[in-house]
């Protein structure tokens, strides 16, 4: 009896969690001029409108470039740090890992203001370089978390065996270590990219009129107009995240449990 009740409650809760996403995706196909849920007629017009809007396309391009650059830097920096923390006897190891993971702990608005204040002094406000720096700071902890998880499963005697067979540290690292921690690095990079792409608050305060990323455009659009084009953009984003996210996450989980 309680079991059935529990199941019903959970179903409702899952529905509650999914509700906004379902609504957004549904309205992107609706034909009315404002987002209507549930939609009456179905159309793909809003997707076309999104694609034909130069501002939105530019925002997409900017976001992609910004996130790709930041993810690239974050992945390298984060992987190196994970190697150091997990493998070597760094004095004050747990202290370091807390420090390196700390950006996650701070409210975005606080970091945003701090960066605004600091960047203004060095002329980095409203610059692409500044945004890359800020994004890299924010997403590196995600890379570290996921790569560390992969590394902790890694058997150090494999590296010893490689050395014993004559491989120097470069060959050992590239042929043995790297391939085996690749799932963790990939999962970290994908997660970091998503976090960077969706980042709003910090970007909002640091970007200028020339650097309107997609989240900023969506944020502004949503407040001042009610157009299902936004739904269309959002649906595209959701689809992409699912297409990239699921396989990478699944591979990461399966490798961990083997």
């Amino acid at each position: 009896m309680i079991r059935i009740l529990l199941r019903c409650i959970n179903l409702l809760l899952l529905l509650y969690l999914m509700a906004p996403i379902i609504v957004v995706v549904a309205t992107s196909f609706g034909s009315s001029a404002y987002p209507l849920f549930p939609p009456n007629d179905l159309t793909l017009a809003w997707f076309r409108k999104f694609w034909e809007n130069p501002e939105l396309r530019e925002a997409l391009r900017l976001s992609a470039t910004l996130s790709a650059t930041s993810t690239f830097l974050a992945t390298i920096i984060g992987t190196l740090s994970s190697l150091a923390i997990v493998r070597y006897r760094v004095p004050g190891k747990s202290f370091f890992s807390v420090i390196l993971l700390s950006p996650i702990l701070f409210p975005a608005i606080v970091l945003a203001l701090a960066l605004l204040v600091a960047f203004q002094r060095v002329g980095l406000t409203q610059s692409f370089k500044g945004l890359v720096a800020a994004h890299t700071l924010l997403i590196t902890p995600f890379v570290i978390r996921l790569v560390m998880a992969s590394l902790e499963d890694f058997d150090p005697s494999l590296e010893e065996a490689a050395q014993n067979l004559g491989a120097g540290w470069w060959r050992t690292f590239t042929r043995i270590t790297l391939p085996l921690i690749r799932p963790g690095i990939l999962a970290g990079a994908v997660f970091a990219f998503i976090m960077s792409f969706d980042e709003l608050v910090v970007t909002l305060m640091l970007a200028g009129p020339e650097l309107q990323t997609l989240p900023i455009r969506i944020f502004n659009y949503v407040q001042y107009s009610s157009d299902p084009t936004i739904s269309a953009i959002s649906t595209c984003l959701i689809a992409v995240w699912l297409v990239i996210g699921i396989p990478v996450y699944a591979k990461f989980l399966s490798v961990r449990h083997s």
């Binding site: 058997d155 010893e160 050395q163 014993n164 067979l165 491989a167 120097g168 042929r175 391939p179």
Partner: protein, 352 residues
């Protein structure tokens, strides 16, 4: 001139001493076992030979080259790990080729060697399998093939059979010994299993708390242990504390318990010490046999092919006696009165 020499090796970690006063000379082609309980320093010593640990002081020489400061990947020694350490993302072939590629062996030669070593360990048809598809014993053989392909100067084994079940362990140790003889490579084998060491090694190095307790052939170690630790670690022994005294023309080992063991001949030792005798060297004799000790069976345990008895002597000493089951000899039971006797030649006297 010895093939592998360790001179006065000492290794400390901060204030704790892992290995000290370690001197050993291994002849070419010899099979040496490093034997001892956990924490005795045997693995540390092996890893110093492999190059993963640098000795705090001392020298390691292979042939006439001092390799003490040579990094691990430049020493020509092959290490077989306890957990096999096969690269999971590579096939058997790729695992073996890995080392060959690192040594820049030509592809023709590589193919030949891969074929040769897999033939040697009997896994030629498994060449394209992945480690996860192989059993423990097969993985162990691939690990061995992997190091043999590099024609190492030394073969090192870090408790490689611990993860295998008993029957497989016996099979594999025969395999390893056979291969080692066939290839003719010098080998150092670390184990905590004394039966394994006895079965495989030409000489055994017994370690106790970072120091060498005794070096010798299996027979020497077993029949003439140099200390109570060695006598107790290898096989079982009966120990009697007391002293050898001469009185009224006879020599006697007078135990602290009051028991008197008559020394009929030989054993020129004097003074206080421990007398040790192995259970299988003690016989049951008829009542009235000269010098026999009387007692009763307190416990009788079936060990399969042998019986193990605990005989309680009048002085309170408990003596463990092991006897092979024989066709026309009855098994003794608890409460039976017995008489036991053993030869001077089988007695070990450990001076205090």
């Amino acid at each position: 001139m010895a093939y592998l020499t360790l001179k006065n090796i000492r290794k400390t970690y901060g204030s704790s001493v892992a290995v000290e006063n370690f001197d050993l000379a291994v002849e070419a082609g010899e099979f040496i076992a490093l034997l001892g309980p956990s924490g005795c320093g045997k693995t540390t010593t092996l890893r110093m030979i492999a190059g993963f640990v640098t000795p705090t002081s001392g020298e390691i020489c292979i042939g006439d080259t001092d390799v003490t400061r040579v990094p691990a990947h430049r020493r020509n020694v092959g290490l077989v790990f306890q957990n096999y350490a096969l690269f999971p993302h590579m096939t058997v072939r790729a695992n073996i080729e890995f080392g060959l590629k690192a040594h820049h062996v030509s592809s023709g030669e590589m193919r030949a060697r891969v074929g040769f070593v897999l033939e040697l360990v009997g896994l030629a048809t498994y060449v394209d399998r992945y480690p996860r598809e192989l059993s423990g014993g097969q993985q162990q053989r691939v690990a061995l093939a992997r190091v043999l392909a590099l024609k190492p100067d030394l073969l090192l084994f870090d408790e490689p059979l611990s993860n295998l079940d008993a029957k497989l362990r016996v099979q594999m140790r025969q395999e390893i010994r056979r291969l080692q003889r066939e290839v003719g490579v010098t080998a150092v084998f670390v184990t905590h299993d004394q039966e394994e060491a006895m079965a495989m090694a030409d000489r055994i190095v017994v370690l106790e708390r970072g120091r060498i307790a005794q070096v010798g052939t299996p027979a020497e170690i077993y029949d003439r242990p140099s200390s109570r630790f060695v006598a107790n670690f290898i096989g079982i022994s009966n120990f009697f504390e007391g002293s050898i005294v001469s009185e009224e023309g006879r020599r006697v080992f007078r135990c602290k318990s009051g028991l008197e063991i008559e020394i009929v001949q030989g054993m020129d030792d004097k003074g206080a010490g421990t007398m040790a005798v192995r259970p299988e060297k003690i016989e049951f004799v008829e009542a009235g046999t000269p010098h026999a000790l009387a007692g009763t069976i307190q416990q009788a345990t079936q060990l399969g092919a042998t019986m193990e008895y605990v005989a309680l002597l009048k002085t309170g000493d408990r003596v463990i006696v092991q006897e092979q089951k024989r066709p026309r000899v009855a098994i003794r039971r608890e409460g039976d009165a017995v008489h036991i006797l053993w030869q001077v030649a089988d007695t070990i006297f450990l001076q205090s």
